[in-house]
Symmetry: C2
Subunit: 324 residues, 2 copies
């Protein structure tokens, strides 16, 4: 196994070769722009990690790994249109910098590029790779649909929320890892366990993200604390609070949510206080730990030397060790 940074360097270098190879036409300008916005490139790194876990030749996984990154960025591009988001990684979104039509069509061509890259693997693994990737791509669309529906619904259950984050985010983490394993000729069951490791780690990470938004250290976290509260985002914390609240707490929560003219700081403070009364932080932490444990259990079931498992456990711990 290599350091995460080494994997990242490989991906950055391969991604650069890929973007350099893209035609210089109007259709592809947004593609290059989006792929150039940076990011930690964690998904393709996971694919390389999956290949390394089973002693595969990393080079044979470069294309599929890039395909996962291009697919992820395609979903961001189209999601940003749907969410009418002005910024992505601090830069203008594509539909703002160009227009909606460019964002739709450049997204579409990126989607084909993603398929092309993902399937540019050794032919003996092609069927498995396609089957895993197609199912995941469908699920990611289904997750985005649920996320959009939730915005206008006020009866979203916790179970529905967990299903949404699973589909929208976690399945791609699992898929990235499993593809890497498949490309290293891993036994089917091991590859599936690695998928489950990723899926559950993704769930734990997403819940941690909800937690950090409210209870994180603003300095370490680098985002405004309470952003989700200000925008009434239906996070695990809010949904859990609404579920557990008594009548007066329900009313108070809904009062804070229904009126957008509140002083932001006051709103964050008041809603956080209700969260604390209802111990939603503890509930979220507990659920997060459950997903983390599931991830580690899946990891432990994989038939690889213990050092490999230690590496992945270390990675998971590092990922989850954000201060709050």
């Amino acid at each position: 196994m290599r350091s995460i940074q080494e994997y990242q360097e490989i991906i950055v270098s391969e991604l650069e070769k890929f973007t350099d190879s893209i035609k210089q036409t109007e259709l592809y300008a947004p593609v290059k722009y989006v792929l150039g916005l940076g990011g930690k490139r964690m998904r393709p790194v996971l694919t390389l990690m999956g290949t390394d876990m089973f002693g595969g030749d990393l080079k044979h996984s470069y294309s599929s790994a890039l395909g996962i990154e291009v697919f992820h960025n395609f979903t961001l591009l189209h999601d940003d249109i749907m969410d009418d988001a002005p910024l992505r990684r601090g830069q203008k979104t594509v539909h703002e910098k160009w227009n909606i039509n460019s964002a739709i069509l450049s997204g579409d061509v990126m989607f084909v590029q993603a398929f092309t890259l993902v399937t540019s693997c050794r032919t003996e693994y092609l069927r498995s790779v396609i089957d895993i990737f197609n199912v995941t791509a469908i699920e990611v669309c289904e997750g985005q649909q649920l996320d959009m529906e939730f915005e206008t619904r006020d009866d979203v259950t916790l179970a529905e929320y967990l299903e949404m984050i699973k589909l929208k985010t976690s399945v791609l983490v699992g898929c990235a890892l499993e593809l890497g394993a498949v490309l290293a000729d891993a036994p089917k069951e091991d590859a599936r366990n690695l998928y489950d490791f990723g899926l559950n780690l993704g769930m734990a990470f997403q819940i941690m993200d909800d937690l950090l938004d409210v209870f994180g250290d603003a300095n370490l976290f680098g985002k405004q604390v309470g952003g989700d509260i200000i925008t009434n985002k239906k996070t695990y914390l809010l949904l859990k609070a609404l579920e557990d609240a008594n009548e007066s707490q329900q009313l108070e929560l809904k009062r804070w949510m229904s009126n957008n003219s509140h002083n932001s700081a006051e709103k964050v403070q008041a809603v956080t206080a209700i969260f604390e009364d209802l111990h939603v932080k503890e509930a979220a932490s507990q659920l997060m730990d459950q997903y983390y444990d599931k991830a580690i259990n899946a990891l432990n079931r994989i038939n690889v030397p213990v050092e490999k498992k230690e590496y992945f456990k270390g990675f998971a711990d590092q990922l989850m060790q954000r201060t709050y």
Copy 2:
């Protein structure tokens, strides 16, 4: 070989099974709607024809054929957003019936469904199928981009126009046929010649479409004659006329195009008169015949019994025998 109607019946029946299998959720409602709008299903029919030409088992081509149809309908769905089209086959477009976000996301999931169907072929042909389909899907996006750019450009050349219709329309005709051939284990060169047959027939058909809009018999054609002239659509005829016109004809054409308050009938009559003065009908017919000949030449190069070629030639003749 079977009758075109028999192929159509197979496709309609298989498409129905597919749409019946789709989940009943908001995400998929537009997918079912679009696939239920009808149409001649010519592209998947071509795939079956390609398989039959080489004596393959039609059943093994059903999925890929459907994939081509789903892909085609996905492109219509997204194109309709970009063109802000209110109607498709006489019914509301998806972004009108639902909204733009639904149209984007349901289109995206349709795209994945198309990939899934196209790749649900026998694994021995998977690599070839994917390579052909991915290249075509990229080209179709590039064609739509050119088409959009042309709307706001007034310096589109004839060569650019031909490139656009090739990418946007003809390559998928070639791809549909070639996939059918590949799935019947056709020799690579034969499959490629069948692609060329489809590509050039597609070009001939597209130019005929431009011709019929101006010079077609309204009763037989079933559309308003001169619709392209009224909307200043950059067709082969208009671009050829602009290229061949003398200074005063240029000015007159541009005058008719710059002002949308003209009486439509008067505009159609005046522009048609310029077309006639410049013999663009004859030029278009000649080019159409050239593409048709190229198609037939490609067909003749294929190593199959003469009856098979006769069947495809009959199909081409029927396709091109629209009265004008």
